[in-house]
Subunit: 398 residues, 2 copies
DNA sequence: CTGAAAGCGCTAACAG
DNA sequence: CTGTTAGCGCTTTCAG
């Protein structure tokens, strides 16, 4: 019998503090079987072995048991062993919630993303979870679904659950606002987007430069009627990326052609036909994000437009199987897992009090993956492979 | 001044219990400003407004404030309003951890997946999180990375954090074992795979039948040297799927051709060339899971093998852009979001005590999406679209 | 090196 | 309808 029930132990080892309470306790919904070998707790059934029980079993005080639990040094090896044996024997499981209540730490970090189905999000989440685990933290995951109200209430919920820090990829809409519910010196790391009017740590890329470089690449191939395609143009990332596009076009003395839609559902075959092909007579298209890419790719295909032959194509955001589409799709690759990795590292540094006290802004490098759709012949097969090859991999560091 | 600090309130309203402790408290790292309008908590800075504070501010007892917090009915509208105003004024934030300690519920469910980068996993997680949110639960996410030991320790960690229920897609390896650390009447729902020697609720598909149907489809196209390709053949899902393959082949009086590898990294171009093409002279390939598909697709492409022309192809697991590869890839589609949705529904029903008491096993339907790689002309464009179109969508029900 | 006592922020039992 | 009292399971002073 490894897991003696609470009642059993209470009955058997009344101990020094057998106050009236014991009786009241027993009468309130427990069954005590006399035979002494089988006891069932009905009320608080599962796993109610507490540190008190451990201490009693080991014949030490509660505090001593607590010391063992917390690996404090000042415990003689004999008591240490006694307590550990008691823990094992009883099948003791510390209650992290109770632990956190007094100690004011929950060993929990919160993470909020916009859409888990976006490769950016799940790769980041994956890395965050991995780093958190190694450092003894768990992560509560929430998803805003691009809704500022949901975002706000999710953050609120996380705070109520006493997260020690927050990693968030903010919706970033003008209406998005949760700064007022963040406690003053709370640790927050933003991903992908910065927060207006806030000075949180952040992990981002140089959106503007990344797009500028990509557009320059298209220009070098001789395309001139390059069209930038973006959803949610009010997003900080969109704004920056479009600025990068403009930079490159302006420098080349060419007219900017920009097609913006609020939501990817607007990017239909007909719309592409009308706007991209008829209106702008684009000879190349560069998308500003993943959903855009998927929508445009699908729409163009159904238009019987062949990538590169009729219109060159560059995607912002690389994706699985970009190297399997014909022609293979050139893309700006963000280091999605690194995002999560760095964010978690920043946050945990803060929580542990190691690392710098000043605001940290990490800017991660992107890479232009030249495949065929931009007009190139891919040179390095490894580079050209889509992110799929990294499935299951997390950069191991630290 | 909406957020008065704890010290301030302690100093101003000493109340009945002004024990020596108060002094010690103040001396240990707080700054009290005399002017009476500005106070800063240094020690326990953020958000330490408690229900006691609210009660005091509202001039009611702790319990009454608690009643308001819990929306209990027996509160007069005048006190209700008083308390609510006090809460708003103080910027009160309930501590869910403390709440859970006494009430023995954490409003938290745990979820463990094998690999978050797998479309199956993130779609399921997404749905679980959504359903949990709507029902007032938060979800702690963990990932086993296919490692039984990690899986076990993650489950252990979740239990320590007092999750009320667990949704897990088990590693399912022979060494995988965490049953002994699950408390007796704990609520668990398994996803994708069942647990040996356990009678948890589960959400699965009919793997055997799904594959049998797909193979039969290939047979109807006249292929005879159909090869089944699988990783991790010891997995329950793999076993079932391979059984389905055998069923169909046997029924057709054809020889089964099965190529198994432990890990997808074995599926190289050379390996495919040797095993699939030279050794088996396969005229069709059916993969048994997503990683297999990606690896095989990539390997075949680099072999200058054209899908359908040289070898037909069916993928178990549909994927984004399956309709963008040339030829488009036929696939067995699992309802990935439904998995999560149903699992969460089952679990929350259990937690709330609604719904049946007996073990529930939900078997979700799959669909064969006939595109071109199996030899078909796709009929319905909508069906043929890859799952990408569903980005951002969650089935709203209940 | 060890223990007793006092809570963390909240809910629950039981009176009024 | 409201308040009092006793904890949830743990950590934390502060004494030995």
């Amino acid at each position: 019998m490894t897991t003696l029930s609470r009642v059993r132990r209470r009955l058997l080892t009344v101990g020094p503090a057998s106050r009236p309470r014991s009786l009241a306790f027993i009468s309130s919904g427990m069954i005590a079987v006399q035979r002494g070998c089988l006891c069932m707790g009905i009320a608080r059934s599962s796993n109610s072995v507490t540190l008190v029980d451990v201490a009693r079993e080991a014949g030490v005080s509660l505090k001593t048991a607590s010391r063992v639990l917390n690996r404090e040094v000042s415990v003689s090896s004999s008591t240490l062993e006694k307590v550990q044996r008691a823990m094992a024997h009883l099948g003791y499981r510390p209650n992290e919630l109770a632990r956190g209540l007094k100690a004011r730490k929950s060993a929990t970090i919160g993470m909020v993303v916009k859409n888990l189905a976006d490769p950016f999000a799940f790769n980041a989440v994956k890395a965050v979870q991995e780093v958190a685990r190694v450092n003894g933290y768990i992560v509560i995951l929430a998803s805003s679904g691009w809704d500022p109200d949901v975002e706000r209430s999710e953050v609120e919920s996380l705070i109520r659950h006493q997260i020690e820090g927050l990693i968030i990829s903010p919706v970033g809409s003008p209406k998005s606002n949760f700064l007022d519910i963040i406690p003053p010196d709370f640790h927050v790391v933003t991903l992908d987007q910065p927060m207006r009017k806030a000075s949180f740590d952040s992990v981002m890329i140089d959106n503007r430069r990344s797009v500028r470089n990509a557009v320059q690449h298209l220009l070098e191939h001789g395309y001139e009627r390059i069209l930038a395609l973006s959803t949610r143009p009010w997003l900080h990332t969109s704004v920056e990326r479009i600025a990068g596009y403009r930079d490159a076009m302006r420098k080349a003395g060419l007219e900017s052609r920009i097609a913006l839609v609020e939501h990817e559902s607007s990017i239909t075959r007909e719309w592409l036909d009308e706007v991209v092909l008829k209106q702008h007579k684009a000879d190349a298209v560069i998308t500003m994000n993943w959903v855009c890419t998927i929508a445009a790719l699908r729409g163009l295909k159904h238009n019987d437009k062949r990538l590169r032959k009729d219109v060159a194509f560059v995607s912002f955001d690389d994706f699985d199987l970009a190297d399997m589409i014909h022609p293979t799709v050139s893309a700006v690759r963000q280091p999605t897992e690194e995002f999560g990795y760095e964010a978690a590292r920043l946050l945990i540094q803060r929580l542990k009090g190691t690392g710098p006290k000043t605001q940290q802004s990490i800017v991660l490098p992107t890479r232009f993956i030249a495949r065929e759709s931009c007009g190139c012949k891919p040179l390095n097969e490894d580079d050209a492979r889509s992110p799929a090859k990294r499935v299951g991999l997390i950069a191991k560091r630290q």
